[in-house]
């Protein structure tokens, strides 16, 4: 019964500022000057860091010069290596997206515009630190030198696939590269990373863990469980939130992004929270290195929000023009991470357009070679599948009777099918 002396309640349903047909408008995005923000001591208590979630760590200024206390001041060769990893990631994404369109696989997820988030973070971590990625951090595998051919084999679910054709494309698992098995269930990797790092700490080890999830999946309970455990046990873990502003068709407002920043989640947990320009490779490196040092010296976890923009669709299965303004990525005020690093290196005088073109051409050949090698192992759905019986392996360490029976039943079914086809 409506009470006459009370206002009627109203339900707020978030709605992005622009939809298809509207012109992109990022005028409300607040971008502080690069280089102005102090770099606190990595041992500073979280209570001394309360402003960091509301600003943006930036190193490269508008003319691509590295400025301010967060400038990691790495050697130019290191930056050229980072540029190579980012460009290789982009080249690989481009070829694999096309492979999906050519019917060679079922699904693909590009990371266009987000290459710095993965590649620069990988550079700031030790090779034996453990990564618990989401599905858009293929740049970590590339930065860690995981063979492209293994990635393509996985994407094609072919006979060479180390995961035996069991996982959706891009759900890699590479223990040797410190890259945990990716789950399609979102944010499950967050408490797992915390648990891994707790184990490392309990054992008196020196390795730390890092996890990545999108801003959308910070709404999952797993994310909050991870943060609670991370603060309670001062866990040596880096909790990365890749805020690319879109979760398939839902903008970040549906994860609470209209009301606060994602880095500010850290405040409620008493964890250090940093917000970084995710399209600035030097800033991503600097923030990750800060958090890694904090973790490694027993000062606990850091939440890093990487403020970036998903330049294309969520995956091969959606068309962003159906739900957001067209050509938004080109308007993103923080630019493109590869272009910015390239401009920085040119400004340093260690890189030029000709070198860049040569690198791009070399990387295309590199990807094509890997793709060709993988195609010899088959493409999805065209022969060269894993043996039927492999379906029943690895459910348990040893196969119980009921799985043995089911494997035998499948063999019989297959023999009957073959006999029918032969007639």
């Amino acid at each position: 019964m409506h009470k006459p002396n009370h206002p009627a309640l109203a339900l707020h349903i978030p709605e992005p500022k622009q939809r298809p047909g509207d012109a992109p408008d990022f005028s409300e995005v607040v971008i502080p000057y690069a280089g102005k923000l102090a770099r606190p001591d990595t041992a500073a208590p979280a209570s001394a860091l309360r402003d960091y979630p509301y600003t943006l760590i930036r190193v490269l200024d508008d003319r691509a010069r590295a400025v301010g206390p967060w400038d990691p001041k790495l050697r130019p060769e290191t930056y050229i290596g980072l540029l190579r990893h980012m460009l290789l990631t982009r080249t690989f994404d481009d070829r694999m997206f096309r492979a999906q369109r050519q019917g060679k696989t079922s699904f693909y997820v590009k990371s266009l515009g987000e290459e710095a988030v993965a590649c620069a973070a990988a550079l700031a971590l030790d090779r034996d630190d453990m990564c618990f990625p989401s599905y858009r951090q293929q740049g970590i595998l590339i930065a860690r030198g995981w063979p492209l051919v293994e990635m393509v084999n996985q994407i094609y679910s072919n006979q060479g696939d180390l995961l035996k054709g069991r996982q959706l494309p891009v759900m890699y698992s590479a223990r040797e590269a410190g890259f945990f098995s990716i789950s399609g269930n979102l944010a499950t990797q967050m408490p797992q990373a915390v648990g891994w790092a707790m184990a490392s700490a309990a054992k008196g080890d020196t390795k730390i863990a890092a996890a990545w999830c999108g801003e959308g999946s910070t709404a999952e309970g797993d994310f909050h469980s991870a943060c609670t455990f991370a603060t309670v046990y001062h866990v040596p873990v880096i909790i990365n939130i890749v805020n690319n502003q879109w979760a398939i068709s839902s903008y970040s407002g549906f994860a609470g992004g209209d009301e606060t920043t994602f880095a500010a989640r850290a405040l409620g947990y008493g964890i250090a929270g940093l917000r970084v320009d995710g399209n600035d490779p030097l800033a991503v490196y600097a923030a990750t290195a800060w958090a890694a040092e904090r973790a490694r010296t027993n000062h606990g976890a850091t939440i890093i929000e990487h403020f970036t923009y998903r330049a294309e669709g969520h995956s091969t299965s959606d068309d962003p023009n159906a739900y957001r303004a067209a050509k938004t990525a080109a308007q993103w005020p923080l630019g493109d991470p590869i272009e910015r690093l390239k401009a920085h290196l040119i400004g340093l005088g260690v890189w030029d357009e000709a070198q860049h073109e040569a690198l791009a051409a070399e990387l295309v050949q590199h990807v094509k070679t890997a793709q060709k090698e993988a195609e010899a192992n088959g493409i999805l759905g065209h022969g060269l599948l894993q043996p039927l019986a492999s379906m029943f392996d690895d459910v348990f360490e040893t196969q119980p009777w009921h799985l043995r029976e089911q494997a035998n039943a499948l063999e019989a079914e297959n023999a009957l099918r073959a006999a029918k086809e032969a007639r």
Partner: protein, 337 residues
């Protein structure tokens, strides 16, 4: 050899596992300093240290999630979920993660996790401290589900579960933590003292997973059951004076189908008894397996004796509980012809 309650046997098993393997780690709500609300982990933190036995936030999702991460690192976590009724927030981490990581990583990672959890009713726990959700887990590929019914088995099965390299759901029937239960709720409670199955060997031994026990041998009818209901079924058979065979399944997945099959082929009659709700319960799977394998040996249709498809009621607990009368009615029906 010592006379132990099931709680003491479980505590002893964890202690031995922790002593034998430095990677065994215990975590859960109230398991550390206090030693657990049922005292299953009493004394373990003092003995093995806070790095290996510790309290957690009240987050089943977090408890299972960090256990998965610890297992990925190389530990052998033994998380406790304080009541099985609370396990659901951790379900995604069990079903989509722990149970599948060996498979989806093609063996790069394994998940040697034993989730201990008190379950079942008969303790006036109401709907949130009485459930038997084993059927939720037996339906999940990649999980093993174990339910002990005696102190001897609890210790041996738990040691086997912790050593197992796959995730195990270890449900402890809390009604029989401190003594067996014949289903007569109106009679004085009995203790494990003097009970032959409460004589527990000192030190290390295992009871293998996937092997049932014949809790009572007989020739005329087979009762398939587990947990608390083993004792109720046994008492009922004896009170009726029939020659019934009571099979204690001990492990639901993987199931000891051979013991079941040979018993039912011998007796020609089969009843399945569990406390959990009826529809889609593990009894349905057992009934299907028995008819697939023993149909031509059956003299009567298989009967299920179960809890009802309602939440576990508080005041009407004993009307809900599948006690001696309900079992006797099913026996009468199956043995009629």
């Amino acid at each position: 050899m010592s006379q132990m309650t099931m709680i003491e046997a479980i505590n002893d098993a964890i202690d031995i596992a922790m002593t034998r393997d430095p990677n065994v780690t215990v975590l859960g709500e109230d398991v550390g300093y206090f030693g657990g609300v049922f005292r299953a982990t009493a004394g373990l933190q003092a003995k093995h240290g806070r790095q290996r036995v510790f309290d957690t936030p009240i987050s089943e999702c977090g408890i299972i999630g960090v256990a998965v991460g610890m297992a990925a690192y190389g530990l052998r976590p033994v998380p406790e979920i304080q009541f099985a009724d609370y396990i659901y927030p951790g379900l995604d981490q069990l079903v989509s993660e722990a149970a599948r990581i060996r498979y989806r990583s093609a063996g790069q990672w394994t998940m040697p996790i034993t989730v201990r959890s008190p379950f079942g009713g008969g303790i006036f726990g109401g709907q949130t401290h009485s459930q038997s959700p084993e059927g939720v887990f037996t339906h999940v590929c990649g999980l093993k589900t174990v339910v002990p019914s005696t102190p001897y088995d609890a210790k041996g099965l738990l040691l086997a579960a912790i050593e197992d390299n796959d995730p195990v759901i270890f449900f402890e029937p809390k009604r029989i933590y401190n003594g067996p239960f014949d289903g007569h709720y109106d009679r004085p409670a009995t203790s494990w003292a003097q009970h032959p199955d409460a004589e527990v060997p000192d030190g290390y031994y295992t009871v293998p997973l996937g092997k049932a026990a014949i809790a009572r041998a007989g020739n005329d009818i087979t009762l398939l059951t587990y947990g608390t209901m083993v004792h109720v079924a046994k008492a009922c058979v004896e009170e009726l004076g029939i020659d019934g065979e009571v099979i204690d399944l001990r492990t639901l997945v993987p199931l000891d189908i051979e013991t079941i099959e040979s018993s039912v082929k011998k007796t020609g009659r089969c009843i399945i008894v569990h406390e959990a709700t009826r529809t889609g319960g593990f009894g349905a799977e057992l009934a299907a397996l028995v008819q697939e394998r023993c149909f031509y040996h059956l003299e009567a249709p298989i009967e299920r004796v179960t809890g009802f498809d309602t939440p576990y009621p508080h005041s009407l607990e004993w009307a809900y509980f599948p006690g001696p009368v309900r079992i006797a009615m099913a026996i009468a029906k199956v043995m009629k012809d």
